[in-house]
Amino acid sequence: MSAEIQTVKQIEKPITIHPVWYKLKNNKMTWIGFVIIFVIILTSLLAPVLTSYDPTKIYIVEKFQGPSGKHWFGTDEVGRDILSRILYGGRLSLGMGVLAILITAAIGIVLGTISGFFGGYIDQIIMRIMDMILAFPTLILAMALAAALGPSLQNAMLAIAIVKIPVYVRLARSETLVLREKLFVKSAITFGIHPVRIILKHIVPNSLSPVIIQATLDIGDAILMIATLGFLGLGAQPPTPEWGAMISIGWKYLLDFWWYPTFPGIFLFMSSCAFNLIGDGIRDILDPKSNS
């Protein structure tokens, strides 16, 4: 009997673990995404080592210098080094994008599990509020929210976190609905364990994986949205070196000094693209439908 079980386990093992790694290993696009993100994060973190220019120090004599050995990406309208502003800006753009998604995922999980676990009125109220948020086009609601909260980078991040909540609530809720019917949760309820404990110990850990996938898919979009709000004047305010805000000032000088809005845009595009490549790869691997 035990030998039989042993063989079953041996057969099972490679089937359950191997394919994901195998597919990930062979998915070149995903790896390209990882490499790009790694390089951008690394260069942003090492900004003080890589460049000796202060990203906010004005040096008017050097204004509008084209790309050269001294300033690889040129200088802006008050003589600041654009490369150094991009590198320091990477910390803000990527950091705020990730932070926005972390916040939205955290709130989404809490609301979604509560909604799914308790059901009834609580569920109705939470889900109807989510419906209201979903009724707006995301960027336009984020714009209105950021305007109402007052233009700043933190508020832009908050606005994006709020508009993205419904997706996570729905995901966590549907997972919870399935989990609630599972035997281990039912027995925990029968034992009289406090609902908060059941949610935290049993439901949340088991409903995390779809949320994590969604989060990877959303980071690229969040970065773009923060930059868009920055571009519209609703995000980071000058002289903060945020990519969207840089392009917002730079585009007025586009035809004469092409490098000014071009380089921050390339970095913005690359990082959003990289996150989308990673998200696309992960979805391909985990979604059985797309493999057929």
Partner: protein
């Protein structure tokens, strides 16, 4: 079918109510003191009190909300702080320009997106598939404001082929207004010069705006084409000697387009969001540019009026999409009857 439409209409009422609630919350509760914003920082307490009374801000919140909804229903979205005109008048004046741009972008997205998606599905894992994948990933990752700049730099700055801003050349009279769409109006009045000029002006912004949509549509068409092409009826059709264009377009694509309709509806929202940015870059005199100009003045009535109007439009589009979906898919229609 009837029951479904009734259900959807009931939901619509609820959602529109929700939208007014959110926009009331954003325009009256969060920004601290709208009266202070209106009169400016240096106004005296007395003027402030007076304005507060005029705006009804001294009333309890729920009365304020009721007044707000009443005003919205009667078409009063407030007066713009920047232009000093009723917000609704401003928005309706700019609306045709935005709609024309959005429609043009939509048209381009469908025109390129559907064939590219079909091609990618037929040539799965070959050159065109990889190309379409790269093309669509860069589409959803491309910041609209940046791609707009690059296109202007290239086609206006270096090549000089297309104008960089506006709807029509300054020395050409806009066609007499019938629909508000320059392209259609100029054709109606037989003004070829105006038509050519407005076509030249709309091409770049529409192209930029369509890119993200194009990406989404291509991916969706590819995915659903792959699913449909694997089905039995396609194999049967092939066994009966049907192949090539007829098989792809008359047999497969028809069914593959059903899920695409939903995606198109959802991405129409992002198109409206994108229009805000595209209009700013290309100096396109539409609602988006109007609202961005209002942002720098923190002109709340204008911003919230725009948000409200766009969202209600968005809800209506989603309704139409859902209805189309039911209309297109006989299986759904039948299940509803039971």
């Amino acid at each position: 079918m009837k029951k479904m439409i009734m259900k959807r209409l009931a939901l619509l009422v609820f959602v529109v109510f929700g939208v007014t609630f959110v926009s009331f919350f954003l325009s009256h509760i969060i920004p601290g003191d709208p009266a202070r914003m209106m009169v400016g920082q240096r106004a005296s307490e007395e003027t402030l009190k007076q304005v507060r009374g005029q705006l009804g801000l001294d009333q309890p919140v729920w009365i304020q909300y009721v007044t707000y909804v009443k005003n919205v229903i009667s078409g009063d979205l407030g007066t713009s702080i920047r232009t000093q005109k009723p917000v609704l008048d401003d928005l309706t004046a700019f609306f045709p320009a935005t709609l024309e741009l959005a429609m043009a972008a939509f048209f381009i997205a469908l025109l390129i997106g559907i064939p590219l998606g079909v091609l990618a599905a037929v040539k799965k894992d070959r050159f065109w598939d990889h190309f379409s994948r790269l093309f669509s990933i860069s589409g959803v990752s491309m910041p609209v404001f940046w791609s707009g700049l690059i296109i202007i730099l290239l086609f206006y700055g270096y090549l000089g082929w297309f104008p960089a801003s506006g709807r029509i050349d300054l020395n050409i009279n806009p066609p007499t207004r019938v629909t508000g769409f320059y392209l259609i109006d100029s054709l109606l009045s037989g003004d070829i010069v105006a038509f050519k000029s407005s076509l030249k002006h709309i091409l770049l912004p529409a192209l930029v705006l369509s890119y993200a949509q194009l990406a989404v549509i291509t991916r969706q068409v590819r995915a659903s084409m792959l699913e449909v092409l694997g089905q039995d009826y396609i194999r049967t059709a092939m066994a009966n000697g049907i192949h090539g264009w007829v098989l792809l377009y008359r047999y497969a694509l028809r069914n593959a387009l059903i899920p695409t309709v939903t995606v198109v509806g959802i991405s129409f929202g992002s198109l409206l969001g994108g229009a805000v940015v595209t209009e700013t870059i290309f100096g396109w005199p539409g609602m988006g540019k109007y609202v961005v100009d209002s942002i720098s003045y923190l002109d709340f009535p204008a911003i919230m009026g725009f948000t409200l109007l766009i969202s209600i439009g968005y809800v209506l589009i989603n309704l139409v999409v859902d209805l189309t979906y039911y209309f297109l898919d006989p299986q759904l229609r039948e299940s509803e009857v039971d």
